[in-house]
């Protein structure tokens, strides 16, 4: 047995109720050593323990090159032989940076620990020695048998053994896994069902000694392969028998399960993806620049050190004052020391203050996001939240928006809005659902509200029983479905596999056709208060190929009726000839499609008794068949029955969008952002939503897999050729539909990309020209893969937005993850960088906050680079005139105070408040956003220009005072004060040029910086400080004399002015040249954004979808006993299992 299983890949062995077998193999780890096989069920998302916090956090922080660099600086400054500036100038900021970061990480980790603990301590019932006792999730172990109560979250991946329902059915809600809120069915093996439910369950379960052999833990949510070996039998297991961790048990009193995968082995956790530290693109570019600066500093230091060596040897060969000062009399050793000294001296070019300021600015930007009233959602009392504070400028550069559908674009509420019965259209979809006048339905005791259709005429017709077609229409809605009814407070509560069905049955209930209950063979319906019982003869299931479902019922009067509903194309071709109203119905279908409603056709057929008898016989025979083509035979049979239909009408359902979705998407598209939709839902639904949220235009051509595959495949090596073909394709398209093409893909098709990695770049090039890409039926892992694909093949910033646990992975993978704080569990928000309450807030987050933030941070970085480099590089030039001795041109105190006190506040306030255009204008002219996508303000070129400018400024800062003071009686200290003054003036003038938005704080900061320079200089040069420590305040009296010397002032002013002259000229040029551009932007987009919601849609593009969620024949479970009465259940199960093994995902097509 073991050998066999190894061959088939089923190597994961789980023995029921045998703790002693699994316990020793528990996964354990110590430091980096890991052993054991089975993970425990403990969720550990935290990183630190008290012992590891300090080393880990230090390790992490010193992975930042900058921190390491500063540490090195500090160590070097402690060496007296090379210390050119005192050590305390670096250590205080470094410790601040390290501790602030460390504490922030610690706080985050504590929060994670708390939420972990909360999840780990959830209760569950575990079977211990013949009785269930409550345990916590973390105590669970592989092989344990569990009892899950109704509405309980399932704690591990379980094999369903049996449940309290007939046939050991049970229902689960998988919202946290795939985002679908409808229920899914799971069924236990008949063997376990039969054996374990016949006796008192606890004893039987305790005696259960089956062995499960299955795949190793993996992240495939929709497949499972395994065998159950029990009592000598080998039973096949598939996804139908598995309850996944994170799903919720619904509509089922109890379910019993055997834990197969626990903890990190579970499918959902395998799908989670790794936590990765996100750094922004600007930061990356900036880090490169920092590396560049460090390298240049090293190079400069090296050159200067060589110079120093040469100078020293010159000094050695000439007896002079300096000769005894050459260290050890060795020029090479002197050069070596000078190298380090210059590194220290030039290190302010890349000051640590930058990193502190950067953090502060990011934090403030995040606060602004949280403070924005326009992004506050009063209904839930939730403001927007920036959970990751260091990504704000990335929001201004987004190129790709990858959105989840359910709960993000849509509210996941389906509303019955319109119908067309016998050619008459009822309801008006142009009225917003909220504004619909509620009809008076007080005559109906079962009415519970929730019908957003106003059609008093219809009610009249129905109550007056004037139109037999309308009566049949609603009979069809109340009979033809797979909904389950549960009685709560004297009224049926519907539990449906598909929200569409729930909406239809709900609408029928409101209008008087109340589905009361169903048993295996009967459906009870109250029709306008009269309770009627229909015998359910057959349920002809929905599949995605058939795109329809039917029920065959015997009316209380004895007649046989087949009610059928399905997609319009399928139904219309099965109608009896010369069906009345067909034309009017087709017109109605068009109308509904224009209003972006989902439509279904409803039809009926009276079946003669004779034909039914014959048909049912054949059905019973073919159902008993064990061959693979049973499906095909069944399909043919069904087809025979569903013909000569009489069209009753059309239903139109609105998939409620979140507020403002179409407007937001249109605005974002205008801003140059590509919007993709990734959903676990079906293709039809996704496309429909694509249309209704204006992502797709009515004339958009959908490029589906077949065609796309051809394009991708076409002549294999020649991407060039395939490109030519593409352009052909596009040319044709351009003529026909203005290059409006959207790609529609499904998860299964995407899987092919794994095997053909070379398609990725071709696909992305194609997708770049497309209006949008819709991916349906994708697993959380695939969503992340798509994000990775985009990240890999474009340089754009990606943003993922989603609301459910199924979006967590893509949220983590994208550059920026946004979580919608919705109804579903908070997992998306927990893992997101930003949390919003509404999709439409995204426009403000991106176009206003993102744009501002990007602009502010770019300005800040460029200015900071300029100011520090120009300030520090002066030493290179001074080095040429002091024997390359690493003598500082500034007073040490000035070096310490310059970056923090004299020049930091004004630019920080610019980084807080700068607005080039107001929030309103940002939204009015979304084109302005493109500046960030193109990285116009923070491109390497711009940063390089800033650096070049800094070099120029440093030259000016040194050589003008040099010219003035050369061969004069002015001493070193006066020159130091003069250059310091000039540097400060330059920095202040430059920030004045940068600032375009002068709040009172900005004005104050500039003035304060200016005054502060004079005050602090006077203080550090004061007599009192000198007397306290003569060696540290040697500049005593220097500024007293310099500040009253006209030459010093004239020099400083001239130097500062010359230094900023290029910047000023560029500024003036900018003013002169952009006046025109601005007017262009303003005039081009002055007309208000027009939404094409009322656009006509081509006749041929009518859409209809029968949106039943699970393709896997939901009806089978309901009526398995009726339609397959003669089949032996065990055989049936085995066959299905094997079938499913061979085509695991076909059900999702």
């Amino acid at each position: 047995m073991a050998k066999e299983s190894v061959e088939s890949g089923l190597t994961w062995e789980v023995r029921a109720n045998s703790c002693h077998y699994h316990k020793p193999k528990q996964k354990k780890s110590f430091l980096c050593f890991r052993w054991g096989r089975y993970a425990d069920n403990l969720l550990r998302s935290y990183k630190y323990s008290p012992l590891t916090f300090l080393p880990l956090t230090l390790f992490e922080q010193f992975q930042r090159v900058a921190n390491l660099y500063f540490l090195l600086m500090m160590v070097m400054q402690c060496v007296p032989a090379i210390s050119s500036i005192p050590w305390y100038i670096t250590i205080i900021p470094l410790i601040t940076v390290l501790s602030v970061r460390g504490l922030k990480d610690l706080a985050n980790d504590m929060a994670r620990r708390r939420s972990d603990a909360q999840i780990n301590s959830r209760p569950c019932d575990v079977l211990v020695s013949q009785s269930f006792s409550t345990a916590q999730w973390k105590d669970l172990f592989v092989g344990d048998v569990l009892r899950i109560h109704k509405d309980q979250v399932i704690p591990a991946d379980l094999l369903l053994l049996c449940s309290s329902e007939p046939h050991s059915l049970c229902y689960v809600e998988t919202a946290d896994i795939d985002g679908e809120t409808n229920l899914k069915y799971r069924q236990a093996l008949s063997a376990t069902h039969n054996e374990l439910t016949s006796h008192p369950s606890e004893e039987a379960l305790a005696a259960f000694d089956g062995v499960v052999l299955c795949e190793e833990p993996n992240n495939r949510l929709y497949t499972f392969r395994g065998q159950l070996h029990w009592r000598g039998e080998c039973l096949l297991l598939d996804n139908q028998h598995i309850l996944l961790r994170g799903t919720v048990l619904r509509n089922t009193q109890f379910a019993y399960g055997l834990a197969i995968y626990t903890g990190t082995d579970t499918k959902i956790l395998r799908n989670c993806g790794k936590i990765r530290v996100k750094t922004t693109r600007t930061e990356k570019v900036f880090n490169k620049v920092v590396m560049g600066i460090i390298l240049s500093v090293l190079l400069a230091a090296l050159l200067l050190a060589i110079g120093s060596g040469v100078f020293s040897s010159w000094v050695m060969s000439h007896t002079g004052v300096l000769t005894p000062l050459v260290v050890g009399g060795n020029p090479i050793y002197t050069g070596f020391l000078i190298f380090w000294s210059y590194i220290i001296l030039l290190s302010p070019a890349m000051p640590i203050a930058l990193y502190i300021t950067f953090e502060v600015i990011h934090t403030v930007h995040s606060k602004f996001i949280g403070w924005d009233l326009e992004m506050y959602w009063p209904q839930a009392d939730k403001p927007a939240q920036a959970r990751n504070t260091s990504l704000s400028e990335e929001l201004g550069q987004v190129g790709y928006l990858l959105s989840d559908k359910t709960g993000t674009l849509t509210q996941n509420r389906l509303l019955y809005r319109q119908c067309c019965i016998a050619g008459e259209i009822y309801g008006d979809a142009s009225v917003r659902a909220e504004d619909v006048e509620p009809m008076d339905l007080s005559w109906n005791p079962f009415s519970r509200g929730g019908l957003f259709m106003s059609a008093p005429r219809l009610v009249e017709t129905l109550r007056g029983q004037k139109c037999p077609l309308s009566i049949q229409f609603f009979s069809a809605l109340s009979l033809c479905h797979t909904v389950m009814a549960e009685w709560k407070e004297e009224a049926p509560v519907y539990q449906a596999a598909s929200p569409d069905e729930e909406a239809l049955v709900g609408a029928a209930r409101e209008l008087g056709w109340v589905f009361l209950s169903r048993t295996r063979d009967f459906i009870v319906v109250s029709e306008l208060g009269v309770t009627r019982q229909y015998q359910l003869l057959a349920l002809l299931d929905f599949t995605s190929q058939r795109r329809r479902m039917s029920v065959l019922v015997r009316e209380p009067e004895g007649g046989l009726k087949l009610y059928c509903k399905g997609a319009d194309i399928v139904i219309l071709e099965r109608l009896q000839k010369d069906c009345p109203y067909q034309e009017r119905v087709e017109k109605a279908l068009e109308l509904f499609a224009q209003a972006c409603l989902r439509t279904l056709c409803v039809a009926v057929r009276s079946v003669p008794e004779a034909s039914w008898e014959q048909w049912s016989k054949t059905l019973a025979q073919s159902a008993a068949m064990e061959t693979c083509d049973r499906e095909a035979v069944l399909e043919k049979l069904y087809d025979q029955m569903e013909r000569d239909l009489q069209l009753l009408g059309v239903t139109a359902i609105e998939d409620r969008l979140q507020e403002g979705v179409p407007e937001t998407i249109a605005l974002l598209q205008q801003a140059g952002i590509k919007v993709w939709v990734l959903t676990g839902d079906k293709k039809e639904t996704a496309v429909n939503i694509g249309y209704s949220c204006k992502l797709l235009d009515p004339d958009t051509r959908l490029l589906e897999w077949q065609e796309l595959r051809q394009i991708l495949q076409s002549p294999d090596p020649g991407v060039s050729f395939s490109k030519a073909r593409q352009t052909d394709l596009w040319v044709v398209d351009k003529e026909r539909a203005g290059a409006k093409t959207a790609v529609v893909l499904s998860g299964l098709e995407l899987a092919e990309f794994d095997q053909r990695p070379e398609w990725g770049s071709t696909f992305m090039r194609l997708a770049e020209q497309c209006q949008s890409v819709l991916c349906c039926r994708v697993t959380p892992g695939q969503k992340a893969d798509i994000v990775t694909l985009v990240r890999k093949h474009t340089t754009s910033v990606t943003l993922s937005i989603g609301d459910g646990a199924n979006d967590v992975n893509m949220i983590k993978t994208a550059h920026v993850g946004v979580g919608i704080a919705g109804v579903e569990g908070g997992q998306a928000v927990q893992n997101a960088d930003f949390a919003l309450s509404q999709f439409r807030f995204l426009q403000r987050l991106l176009l206003v906050h993102g744009r501002w933030s990007y602009r502010r941070i770019s300005l800040f970085l460029r200015y900071f680079l300029f100011k520090t480099c120009s300030f520090a590089l002066v030493h290179i030039w001074f080095g040429c005139f002091n024997g390359f001795s690493a003598q500082s041109l500034y007073e040490p105190w000035f070096i310490a105070l310059y970056t923090v006190f004299y020049t930091a506040t004004p630019i920080m306030l610019v980084a807080f408040f700068e607005q080039d255009v107001s929030a309103e204008s940002s939204l009015k002219w979304p084109e302005l956003y493109k500046c960030g996508q193109r990285q116009e303000l923070s491109s390497p070129l711009m940063l390089a220009l800033s650096l070049l400018y800094a070099v120029y400024t440093s030259l000016v800062l040194f050589f003008i005072p040099f010219g003035v003071f050369y061969n004069t009686a002015f001493d070193y200290q006066t020159m130091a004060v003069t250059v310091a003054m000039a540097a400060t003036f330059t920095a202040i003038i430059e920030v004045v040029l940068v600032t375009k938005y002068w709040t009172k704080f900005n004005v104050a900061a500039v003035c304060v910086s200016f005054v502060l320079f004079f005050i602090c200089t006077r203080i550090t040069h004061s007599t009192r400080l000198f007397q306290r420590s003569p060696r540290d305040y040697v500049f005593i009296g220097a500024s007293d004399k310099a500040f009253v010397n006209p030459v010093v002032w004239l020099t400083a002013l001239l130097t500062a002015w010359t230094a900023v002259l290029p910047s000023l000229t560029a500024y003036a040029l900018n003013v002169i040249l952009t006046v025109r551009d601005k007017q262009k932007v303003h005039s081009a987009s002055n007309q208000p954004m027009e939404l094409r919601s009322q656009m006509r849609r081509g006749t041929s593009l009518r859409r209809s979808s029968y949106a039943l969620s699970q393709g896997a024949r939901p009806g089978r479970h309901i009526i398995s006993a009726t339609s397959f009465r003669s089949t032996v259940p065990t055989v049936d199960e085995k066959v299905t299992a094997s079938n499913n093994l061979t085509r695991p995902l076909s059900a999702f097509k």
Partner: protein, 369 residues
């Protein structure tokens, strides 16, 4: 201000109940509608057009050029006379003296340099000595001093700072003043004689006080043993710098110009910024309004040549200069102002041309709107 922002935000996130006038109710998370938080702070957004930016260039140009001219004229009006007495040239009177490279030659070498002043120097005249290729700004040199010692600290006097190495101790005695700067103090002396047309040689009085900064003389430099009139006793236990001929307490006979507060010493200790520099040596005070301080005519400069500079290719100069409000002669500043002013003006013109070329288009854009 940042601190204040942080604090309020903490309250925001931490759901802290505020016991305001409403009582201790749980605060809604609704953000406050303040100008600051909504980023609607009233602000001045200067709308700059070519009309406001371009004049700035012309105005700056028009300000800088006159300043430059003024500076240049002022600088030109300053009279300056300079003699290089290094003695490199065989014909130079100091050639012989310059051949000695030693600091402590036993016999002082004197050289006499005659010169002729073509213009009378009316006001007070400053006499400088100038050194070239002398790296007084070399880091190891600049560091080589002990400000504590120079400030009269007794402890530092006897235990000079390590920075003074290798001039901290000599023969196990602390050096006062320690360090390379003090050790290399300029020790040439000048005497200036006016050769009267009638043949007499009149020595011109040179004032050796008032040449140092007030703060240096009165705060930064102080003799040890506060108010001890006996400097010799105060410097007990120390030795003179290696290169010096006399100990520090014998620099001058006047007690208020002796020891560390000797002004020549103080001037030397205020290190120069660049390798070519001047230092004030003496002041020739104006005596009367009628007679110029230095009349036109022949002069003789007698130099006691001690300071060796030829060993490191240095130069020595003596400079006589009148002064103005801007100090000594400095043509660079004036020229620089004129240059930058002209560049501004030129840029203004270029920008104006660019503006005119694009301005037309921008006008047409206006019309099309």
């Amino acid at each position: 201000m940042i601190g204040a922002m942080m604090a309020s935000s903490y309250n925001e996130d931490g759901h802290i109940t505020v016991s305001g006038p409403g009582g201790g109710t749980l605060r809604s998370k609704k953000p406050e509608n303040t100008a600051f938080k909504q980023q609607r702070l009233p602000a001045w957004q200067p709308i700059l057009t070519a009309g406001t930016v371009l004049p700035a260039f012309f105005i700056i140009g028009l300000i800088f050029i006159p300043i430059g001219i003024g500076l240049y004229v002022t600088s030109n009006n300053i009279k300056e006379f300079e003699i290089d007495y290094t003695g490199e040239d065989v014909s130079s009177p100091c050639f012989n003296c310059s051949q000695s490279f030693s600091w402590n030659s036993t016999r002082p070498c004197t050289c006499v340099i005659p010169f002729y002043l073509e213009q009378p120097y009316e006001s007070s005249v400053f006499m400088y000595y100038g050194l070239s290729n002398f790296y007084q700004n070399h880091r190891r040199y600049v560091k080589s001093r002990d400000d504590s010692q120079l400030n009269g600290d007794m402890e530092s006097l006897l235990k000079p700072s390590k920075e003074c190495e290798p001039y901290a101790m000599n023969e196990n005695k602390p050096i006062a003043p320690c360090g390379a700067i003090a050790n290399s103090m300029f020790n040439d002396t000048f005497e200036l004689f006016y050769n009267d047309p009638n043949g007499t040689k009149v020595q011109i009085p040179l004032s050796n006080t008032g040449i140092a900064w007030w703060t240096d003389k009165h705060v930064k430099f102080r003799n040890p043993g506060l108010n001890n009139p006996n400097l010799t006793a105060a410097f007990q236990g120390t030795t003179k710098p290696v290169n010096w001929r006399r100990p520090v307490y014998e620099l001058d006979s006047a007690p208020d110009n002796n020891g560390f507060i000797n002004e020549d010493f103080i001037v030397w200790m205020r290190t120069a910024a660049l390798p070519t520099f001047r230092k004030l040596y003496r002041i020739i005070n104006k005596t009367s309004n009628m007679v110029p301080t230095l009349p036109r005519g022949n002069y003789t400069l007698e130099v006691v040549y001690n300071y060796p500079v030829r060993s490191f290719d240095g130069r020595k100069r003596m400079i006589l200069s009148t002064i103005s409000w801007m100090g000594g002669k400095n043509p660079f500043l004036g020229i620089a102002y004129i240059t930058v002013g002209s560049v501004c003006f030129f840029l203004g013109v270029v920008l104006l041309i660019i503006h005119h070329k694009c301005g037309n288009r921008s006008n047409s854009a206006d019309i099309s709107n």
